[in-house]
Assembly symmetry: C2
Homo-oligomer: 305 residues x 2
């Protein structure tokens, strides 16, 4: 193993969970910084209705302003045909559809049953592909649901198979509420990998209970080569009720590079992006690697050994 | 595997790295809380000279006030013969000696070369054992030194063998600056375990770069059954220069119990201890599990679903 692809979801999954709404020019600057750091896969925004996610209401405007750079791909969430219309009028490179592995979470999140969701997603995938766009699939609450607890693996398998049949090229397995530990990740992947090849799966871990890296480690051991992360660990204040941040891209990069796995991302440059974001949102971000890198800068500045 | 022993080092390794000095009665209440939570192994203080660690200057006073409870063992650091004199006048059950795997860190921390340190520790161990006390050994900077970088495993092996020859019953392997990742932990343990049985080794991981749990996971896979942790992840503010907290006992307990490994520690009761400590030191502690448990309490209180 020499390389892992990190999908940087901070601009979308991170920002949509922050109470602060960042101006479009700040988001553009973040994208510029991510590109400087070497990030190639950037989930930039979401075309869900702005009423539900006001933080990302500027999706079309942002999409038009994103810096174009060879090799960099922008992604956006697309919930339904209406969202697809908006997305198709922008230069976003590829889309992602989403649903939950558990019925109750799907209803709360999408306001539809799982069975009602499938045809909506199938239409998005078909029309997106007709327009020459690749579509990724997100399955949420794979490792546990806040309403139903454990989610049967068989349910996850069926859902992934349906998504693949629709034409989704990759499925990101979401530990939405951050309850997974290695045992659960292994049990789930062992079954899933009998039906779907590892190169079509990605790990999307939240660090709510500090287990994101160990889950990433186990996923890598089982052959997964794509991991989602958010700069700084953005998304959900660590000291606010319901806190649930994505695993920090900085933490992933440090960990992977130490393990001898290339990410193509420069840690210090990425940290500089997160430092700017900290100023914008007015609180320190939760990434431990970010904070330790900042501490190094401070010591150097002060001439400490 | 069904059980892991957690050595709770928050009162010592945690508090000695906090700028706030807690009153002795607060420390006693923390010990009471830890016992209520089911913690059996409590490193309560250190008999280093109070000039170096003013946070623990009340070592003898605290030791005299600690609640006595069947099955609970108190431990304390003892740096030298003078510290041993102080320790022996208290009811602390067992001691720990310490040194660093890297020469420069040892000099900075102990003000002696490694070779000068051995006879000092040997005297402590011999006299402690003569007084009927077990002695643990701490080896710091096992997985990396802030001054020397990588530390040769052969050096760690020699040091551990010397400690075992002295009569130390267990060696806690310290990732003092939190730079280890699984590759390094595996490489180190693979060599060490050829010389020293797993039951005489413990993992002491700092979560400076978020890798403590994954390192604990790898250690468990390699047969280690004793892990050090500090309630709340105390020790080093996560947002201060040089931050470097111990792995949070809460994070360890959640992780281990989810993996089907018993710790004997009740998570919610432990979190109540950390909540009190947060009030005392005036900042949120870094444990992600602690913060997520607090969030659950808040939702329940507010009647959220």
């Amino acid at each position: 193993m020499t390389r892992v692809t990190i999908v940087e979801v901070g601009l979308r999954d991170g920002l949509q969970n922050e109470s602060v709404i960042l101006p479009v020019e700040v988001k553009r600057r973040i994208a510029e910084g991510l590109i400087r750091a070497g990030v190639k896969e950037i989930e930039a925004t979401s075309f869900v209705h702005p009423r539900w996610v006001p933080q990302l209401a500027d999706a079309a405007e942002l999409a038009a302003q994103l810096p174009r750079e060879q090799g960099v791909r922008y992604r956006a969430l697309v919930p339904n045909a209406k969202g697809l219309e908006r997305a198709l009028s922008t230069p976003i490179d590829e889309y992602a559809v989403f649903l939950s592995a558990s019925e109750t979470h799907n209803r709360k999140n999408i306001n539809k049953s799982i069975d009602e969701t499938y045809p909506v997603l199938a239409e998005v995938v078909e029309r997106a592909q007709a327009a020459g766009k690749r579509v990724r699939g997100y399955v949420s609450t794979v490792f546990g649901c806040p309403y139903e607890g454990d989610v049967p693996v068989s349910q996850v398998v069926r859902m992934c198979e349906r998504l693949i049949e629709m034409g989704v090229y990759e499925i990101s397995l979401g530990d939405t509420i951050g309850v997974a530990t290695p045992k659960k990740v292994k049990e789930t992947l062992e079954v899933l990998l009998r039906h779907i090849p590892a190169e079509r799966l990605a790990g999307h871990f939240h660090d709510t209970r500090g287990t994101a890296l160990v889950n990433a480690y186990v996923s890598l051991e089982m052959g997964i080569r794509t991991l989602d992360g958010a700069f700084g660990g953005l998304g959900g204040c660590p000291y606010a009720p319901g806190a649930s941040g994505n695993v920090a891209t900085e933490d992933l990069v440090y960990f992977l590079e130490q393990e001898g796995i290339e990410t193509g991302i420069d840690l210090e440059t990425l940290c500089r992006v997160s430092v700017e974001v900290q100023k914008e949102i007015g609180r320190p971000l939760s990434s431990k690697v970010l904070q330790s890198v900042i501490a190094t800068w401070s010591s150097v500045g002060k001439g400490e050994s």
